[in-house]
């Protein structure tokens, strides 16, 4: 029966149709009728016929005004084809697309919702995307480019989220725009940026890739400028052989892996000199590359420093080599010589002199090993001297001290420690009397006590100057005398120091004495 209604649905016979509709409604078969209409439309290949079927379906829905979950999703999917039908030029291949939308909807389940949306997107893509097939009319024809605004309207009509809808169309439009060879690069870039702004979901790098695909490299670079994520710009820039630009973009992105990728590209692309020059202007990349070289290509590192005339680092490089790479003494000395030369060039006289001293020391240590036996190589100057004294070669130690200008203070500390270690108390006493100690005599006391030799310590305690006397006396455990000295000095700090050393009953008297002296001092 509704078939009749359907056929009656012609502009001329609309009244009749209304009657049929009412009839169907009364029979309670409207839902079914509408459904069938739409399904039929989906299978129909004649645009005119399709149009009619769908309109009928929609009318039927409106007439009945139904409510019902399953049917709601119908609404939007119905709107789509109808909107398209009303507006699209009919000669384009609608049926396929309509059918897609409708089959998706036809399942009627909520779960298929996603699929439906996807289909709409596909649909939009078809309308938005310029096609490069030979069978189609030239893309610049007005009839075709008109489709973009239409597609955008469809999106708005369907209330699609921006990312899925408008942005996609705009991106497609931009891709089409870059193929307009008669428009200048600037104009195209500007036009695209004006339209797109920073619409979410639009990838300028995709558009730029398209431009590059059409052989418009300059345009592609201009477009990339609009790409907010600098990381996205890099791969295309590399493809376009704009590696230097790619490098600065990679650095901007803060992604060190990306920087590294570009660096390796550059390394293969440029000759060594140019590569190094590029690095020089990019400190961040330079340090990254240096780190890599330190682990993998030591020679390159040297070349890098050479290129930059970085003599300081070159010097350090050779020093490091003298420790790590070289085994033979001659090799090490040679490496140090190179280092010293570099330091001179870097105007770092201190380092140069220190390096030369080290060369002398190495040679000497070698000689000592040959003549005296034992281990001398790689000891510090201090330890070399100590080893000599411990081995009983006092003369040699003194010669060493003169040759290498070991300061007096250090020499005294050194001898003192070494002799005490040997427990050569006689020699120590001789040494202490050789001249006035530049480090005072408190260290003598300390070191003797460290070796638990109270007897020797006491000898030196008597020679300690007045400022450190109390300390020395306390060290050797003579609390009573320390107290006397402190009282004599009338020094509050010293008094409390002694007091803190008074322990138990043995020092009871001393403690009292100090307290009395304190009280007296306060009275005054």
């Amino acid at each position: 029966m509704w078939e009749t209604w359907l056929w009656a649905w012609c502009p001329k016979e609309s009244q009749k149709a209304d009657e049929y509709l009412r009839e169907i409604q009364e029979l309670g078969q409207l839902t079914q009728a509408v459904q069938q209409c739409i399904e039929a439309a989906g299978h129909e290949h004649q645009p005119d016929m399709q149009k009619s079927l769908l309109r009928v379906g929609l009318e039927g829905r409106a007439g009945q005004g139904w409510e019902g979950g399953g049917m709601d999703s119908w609404g939007s999917s119905l709107c789509c084809p109808l909107a398209l039908l009303r507006r699209l030029p009919l000669e384009t291949s609608i049926p396929m697309r309509v059918r897609r939308v409708l089959t998706a909807r036809g399942d009627g389940e909520q779960g298929k919702y996603r699929y439906k949306q996807l289909t709409i997107q596909v649909l939009l893509d078809r309308y938005g995307k310029p096609r490069a097939g030979a069978t189609l009319p030239p893309l610049s024809t007005p009839s075709h480019s008109l489709l973009y605004p239409l597609a955008i309207q469809i999106c708005e009509y369907l209330r699609l989220p921006e990312v899925q809808g408008v942005s996609r169309i705009l991106a497609h439009w931009a891709c089409y725009k870059v193929q307009q060879k008669d428009v200048s690069d600037e104009d195209v870039a500007r036009a695209i940026n004006q339209k797109l702004g920073d619409t979410p979901g639009v990838s300028y790098s995709d558009i730029a890739a398209r431009a590059y695909g059409c052989g418009r490299t300059e345009l592609a670079i201009k477009l990339l400028e609009y790409e907010p994520r600098s990381g996205e710009q890099v791969p295309l820039l590399l493809k376009m052989k704009r590696s230097k630009l790619a490098l600065s973009k990679a650095i901007e992105s803060g992604d060190t892996d990306l920087v590294f990728t570009v660096l390796l590209h550059l390394k293969n692309e440029l000759n060594r000199g140019d590569f190094f020059m590029t690095l020089r202007n990019q400190p961040m990349a330079l340090s990254l590359y240096r780190q890599f070289c330190k682990h993998q290509e030591l020679e390159t590192l040297k070349d890098l420093y050479n290129q930059d005339d970085n003599h300081q680092e070159l010097g350090s490089f050779h020093i490091r080599a003298s420790y790590a790479a070289e085994e033979r003494i001659e090799g090490r000395v040679a490496a140090l010589q190179t280092a010293a030369d570099a330091f001179y060039k870097a105007k770092n006289e201190f380092a140069a002199k220190a390096t030369e001293d080290q060369m002398r020391l190495l040679r000497l240590q070698r000689r000592l090993e040959d003549e005296l036996g034992g281990q001398f190589l790689d000891l510090s100057l201090h330890d070399t001297a100590t080893t000599l004294i411990l081995g009983g070669h006092n003369k040699r130690a003194e010669q060493l001290a003169r040759d290498f200008r070991i300061p007096d203070k250090r020499l005294w500390w050194l001898k003192l420690t070494a002799l005490a270690d040997l427990e050569d108390w006689e020699e120590l006493e001789k040494f202490s009397k050789s001249k006035k100690s530049p480090i005072g005599y408190l260290p003598f006391v300390e070191i003797c006590m460290k070796q638990h030799n109270k007897y020797e310590a006491k000898k030196y305690a008597s020679r300690v100057g007045p400022e450190q006397k109390v300390k020395a006396l306390l060290l050797v455990g003579d609390v009573a005398q320390a107290a006397d000295v402190a009282i004599e000095h009338r020094n509050e700090a010293e008094l409390s120091l002694v007091l803190s050393h008074c322990t138990g009953a043995t020092d009871g008297a001393t403690a009292d004495k100090i307290q009395r002296a304190r009280a007296q001092a306060q009275k005054k």
Binding site: T256, T261, R290, Q296, F350, I406, K409, R410
Partner: protein, 614 residues
């Protein structure tokens, strides 16, 4: 003692989730290679791994043997091998090649943690084994060491960034921050100072923007985040620590939240590995205390414990049963911990008195306050002459340099000469490193720059003066410590004795002599909730600062979360800083959470700059 928190102090978020996350990921990776497998693990990753998954978990997932990788190829018979490593992984090459030579084919998987760098793959390729191994990432970048302390366990960060200018780890930091904001809501207020802080912040923001809006609706749990570069404040990190936890770190080296107490501490013939965190009740009460209080506290505690033991004397059988079943275990546990910490204290005392610790501290304080410079210099010289310790001598030299804006040329040369004579000429490289990092420098010929600069800044507008300062500072990186110290009042005026039992301010962590600069900056900015009024300090620090408040999130944040502050130390933080900020938190009703690239101290900083292989 053991200051209680204010009743209104906010609760800390639960960070154990991070551990679970890392563990699950590891298990997933292990299961990618079904069947029995051996796990080769780089020494640096050993302790962090131990905190995440113990041996039984590894066994459950069919890890047969666990090898710590030292540079020799180990023999193993299993089909699969897993290698977990950082950036250095040449050993894996050796391992695979050794197998190849022996004609064995196995499956290999190299796991990079916390992230795989492009260069890693490249090296594998160059070594010709890229095809033989599969690579994966274990994105394990945040290890909760304690309830309020997260560590990235990247000690190499300090050298890589501050010496070599290598920015690889910044991305890792940004990823970690992103993870935190995903789990605990984004931070409404962000502040930071330093170049690295700024870069990390920007990279992190980018990550957040790329993410879709799902997490944005979350209520923020942590109200503020503060990022800070280590080079903003080297001074604090270079000082000797005197707060218990710091002192334990300086003396025994806390590694990944646990410490190895040797026989001298345990008073037995065995070493003992002890986990140091809030769960250790005894430790928790003394960790933030000045060392001078710790002994007294422990003996008091011992007496209390004895009293509790003694109660059982008058007990009848029923009470005794109760006592044994309920209290005894706790008491025994406490007893054990107590004797450990007393042992540790004794051992610290012994070591410190041997080196004349008092003199050392006195010199440090003199340097901080800037008096008796000559005397301090000769103290350092003697220190070097006596070969007390290469690292210590170096530390004192750096402290002198930074507080004095560089050494005067004569001292610079003579101290270096002395140092080379004492500790070996290869330290020439160390000095070149320290100079590059700005830790040990020479005063610019006649420090008239400062004079000129201040004159100029009076003449021209502030902005121009800023530019001129930039120009000057590019010539020589100066620390301006003295001026900053005055501006921020870092040296408290002491009238009478500073009572270390009842601290007044954060200076207590350095015996009342110095308020840690880093902590002071955090305090000042939080007070203002911006950098306003700190322009002069920022100019002196010569670092870029930033502050950002997201009003939309700020409104959503509860007042409780606004008193939770995450402080991020890029390049490491010390336990003294942690203690100082914990103290500040108690005073103001905040809670601080610490995120650091690694826990550090003066020795670790110096070792990182050292070129001599130990």
């Amino acid at each position: 003692m053991a200051f209680p928190h204010r009743p209104d102090a906010p609760e800390l978020p639960d960070f154990s989730m991070l551990k679970r996350l890392a563990r699950d990921q590891l298990i997933y990776l292990l299961e990618q290679l079904p069947g029995k497998k051996d796990l080769f693990i780089e020494a640096d990753l050993m302790s962090p791994l131990d905190r995440i998954a113990n041996v039984s978990i590894l066994k459950q997932h069919e890890v047969d043997k666990l090898y710590k990788v030292e540079n020799k190829p180990a023999l193993s018979s299993n089909e699969h091998k897993l290698l977990a490593c950082r950036a250095a992984f040449l050993f894996s090459v050796d391992l695979v090649n050794a197998d190849k030579l022996a004609g064995r084919t196995r499956k290999y998987k190299v796991i990079f943690s916390p992230q795989k760098f492009y260069a890693c793959e490249m090296v594998l390729e160059e070594e010709g084994i890229y095809g033989d191994v599969s690579c994966d990432e274990w994105a394990f970048s945040l290890l909760p060491l304690d309830v309020d302390l997260l560590s990235m366990e990247l000690p190499e960060f300090f050298r890589d960034y501050f010496l070599e200018g290598d920015q690889r780890w910044i991305n890792t930091v940004a990823q970690a921050l992103h993870l935190l904001s995903t789990l605990y809501g984004s931070f409404p207020n962000c502040y930071g100072i330093g170049r690295c802080a700024k870069m990390s912040y920007e990279l992190w923001r980018k990550l957040e923007e790329e993410e879709d809006g799902e997490t944005k609706g979350r209520r923020p749990e942590i109200g503020h985040i503060f990022l800070l570069d280590r080079d903003v404040d080297f001074v604090t990190a270079l000082c000797s620590q005197v707060v218990y936890e710091g002192l334990v770190d300086d003396t025994f080296r806390i590694k990944c939240g646990s410490v190895d107490f040797g026989p001298e501490v345990t008073s037995s013939d065995k070493s003992l590995k002890v986990l140091l965190n809030a769960e250790d009740k005894v430790f928790n009460e003394i960790r933030n205390e000045h060392f001078s209080n710790v002994f007294g506290f422990l003996s008091q505690k011992a007496r209390n414990l004895q009293a509790q033991y003694d109660r059982r004397r008058g007990m009848d059988i029923k009470q005794m049963k109760n006592f044994v079943s309920q209290e005894l275990k706790g008491l025994k546990q406490e007893h054990r911990l107590l004797s450990l910490h007393i042992g540790a204290c004794e051992s610290i005392m012994k070591k410190k008195t041997k080196q004349d610790f008092q003199e050392l501290i006195k010199t440090e304080h003199a340097l901080l306050e800037g008096f008796n410079i000559r005397e301090s210099t000769s103290y350092i010289e003697e220190h070097i002459d006596r070969q007390v310790s290469p690292i210590e001598s170096l530390r004192l030299m750096c402290l002198l340099s930074i507080t004095e804006n560089g050494l005067i040329p004569k001292d610079y040369r003579s101290l270096k000469t002395q140092y080379l004579q004492s500790y070996g000429p290869d330290h020439l490289l160390t000095f070149s490193n320290l100079r590059r990092a700005g830790l040990l420098t020479e005063q610019a010929p006649g420090d008239t720059l400062t004079a000129v600069e201040s004159k100029v800044s009076k003449l021209v507008t502030d902005k121009a003066a800023g530019k001129i300062t930039d120009a000057f500072s590019s010539l020589a990186k100066r620390s301006n410590f003295r001026a900053i110290s005055k501006k921020l009042n870092l040296i408290p005026r002491v009238d009478g004795e500073y009572d270390l039992k009842v601290p007044r301010d954060m200076a207590y962590v350095f015996s009342g002599a110095y308020v840690p600069l880093s902590c002071r900056i955090v305090e000042q900015v939080l007070e203002r909730r911006s950098w306003q009024g700190l322009d002069e300090v920022v100019r002196l620090l010569n670092c870029s600062e930033f502050a950002f408040t997201d009003m939309t999130k700020d409104d959503k944040a509860s007042s409780e979360s606004l008193r939770l502050i995450l402080v991020v130390f890029l390049g490491g933080c010390t336990f003294s800083e942690v203690s100082a900020l914990r103290f500040l938190g108690r005073e103001k009703g905040y809670r601080f959470i610490f995120l650091t690239t690694a826990v550090t101290n003066s020795a670790r900083l110096m070792e990182a700059m050292s070129e001599v292989k130990a």
